[in-house]
């Protein structure tokens, strides 16, 4: 009977996951439907841009700098074996612009801003602020959720771009200033290898998709949380776990579409 129980439990979890997927999609559609008012009252979005975008700046910039420095160091160690240290610039820039910038910025954003969004909305729900709004005929999705969604969607590409730019600077610091790779070839090889449309715009597109997914997951988990202290903490954990998994899986799919074979 134990086997039966396990099978039943697995089936239950799968059905539950599909169920949540469906309600998350419906939630996303509702957010889009009610987001007109957040553009009419753009002040709400600006306020959320501050708390999700500006407040994430420090972690993004510091992480970007150190990731770039590590890339410079590791890339140099590997390229040295093939006598092509001058390709360090293109290695650092390509890996940052295509992959590490969008992905790491999104992961950091999910844990820095996404978890805060979930906790905030979950607590609003637990303290019945959302029901109070409904009582006053204020649509909570239009008033609370949509501005946060647009703030996340707007700030994610900007954060990713800053991550990549600071990372390139970090690679420059280690590669050129500290190790002494030729500065001219560092930048020239980088510019020869990085294409604006192919690499940079695709990176921006990626971070835009990640921003959408992370904020939708965070807002949905908050809105869907059990209105108890335990429920909110569980929802916050789920936000970080689910959005990190979603970022990494989507990254593979997007990379396969964008850069296949050329």
């Amino acid at each position: 009977m134990a086997a039966m129980k396990t099978v039943r439990a697995i089936g239950h979890r799968v059905v539950d996951a599909v169920w949540r997927m469906g309600s998350a999609t419906r939630f996303f559609a509702l957010v889009l439907l009610y987001s007109a008012s957040s553009f009419r009252r753009f002040r709400l979005v600006i306020k959320e841009l501050f708390s999700s975008g500006v407040m994430s700046l420090i972690i993004i910039l510091v992480a970007g700098l150190f990731v770039g420095m590590v890339l410079g160091l590791q890339g140099y160690e590997t390229l040295k074996r093939y006598g092509s240290e001058s390709a360090l610039g293109s290695l650092v820039a390509l890996s940052l612009v295509r992959e590490l910038g969008p992905v790491l910025a999104a992961l950091l954003f999910a844990s820095r801003a996404g978890s805060a969004m979930t906790a905030e909305i979950g607590l609003m729900k637990a303290t019945e602020q959302i029901s109070a709004m409904e009582m006053m005929a204020v649509n909570p999705i239009a008033r609370i959720v949509a501005p946060r969604f647009w703030a996340g969607v707007i700030s994610m590409p900007l954060l990713a771009a800053m991550f990549s730019a600071v990372g390139v600077f970090g690679g420059y610091l280690v590669g050129v200033v500290q190790i002494g790779v030729d500065e001219g070839s560092f930048w020239a090889q980088m510019q020869a290898a990085v294409d604006f449309r192919e690499d940079i715009l695709n990176g921006v597109l990626k971070s835009f998709v990640f921003g959408t997914v992370v904020t939708v997951i965070a807002l949905f988990e908050g809105y869907d949380a059990q209105p108890t202290a335990e429920g909110v903490s569980g929802a916050t954990t789920r936000t970080v776990v689910n959005s990190s998994l979603a970022i990494l899986m989507l990254d593979f799919v997007l990379t396969a579409i964008m850069f296949r074979g050329n």
């Binding site: 707007i154 990549s164 730019a165 930048w187 510019q191 990085v194 294409d195």
Partner: protein
């Protein structure tokens, strides 16, 4: 509408993000160096293009003068047709020679243009008649082995 320090921070954040994007485009990417506006297209047939890819660079005397835009197989003559777009600033004589070269031993392949002596210049849409295929390493080794075998044994 009242201005607050919050607006200032958000403004700085947005400006910083856009500045980072512009810096990536200009300093890291090729938008600052490569001008797409003024170019003309010529084409050429190659027996074998080896590892040449679209967007490969076209150089003359080592200077970047254009990019490969399109590669296809012409089934009338079973040769590779390579469309090249060249910078308007650089005009080449009609009998220019196009070679597929390799940068370094294992590097990327590119097209090198060797200008001829003709007085007439290549017009947009015209064909480069003289071409030389890529050097395929396997063929070269094959030829070398064949020649070695054909040689009479020196020991005797």
């Amino acid at each position: 509408m009242e201005r607050t320090t919050l607006d200032l921070w958000v403004g700085m954040f947005v400006v910083g993000g856009i500045a980072a994007l512009v810096m990536l485009a200009m300093k890291v990417g090729n938008l600052g160096t490569y001008n797409v506006s003024e170019s003309y297209q010529v084409y050429g047939y190659f027996q074998n293009i080896g590892g040449l890819k679209a967007k490969a660079s076209i150089k003359s005397a080592g200077v970047l003068v254009g990019r490969v835009t399109e590669i296809s197989l012409d089934t009338n003559r079973y040769q590779a047709k390579v469309v090249m777009s060249l910078d308007k600033r650089y005009q080449f004589p009609k009998d220019t020679f196009a070679n597929i070269l390799t940068s370094g031993l294992l590097g990327e392949q590119y097209i090198g243009l060797m200008p001829g002596g003709d007085e007439e210049m290549l017009k947009p849409g015209s064909q480069i008649k003289q071409t030389q295929s890529a050097v395929v390493l396997e063929e070269m080794i094959g030829k070398f082995l064949y020649n070695k075998a054909a040689e009479p044994d020196k020991a005797n």
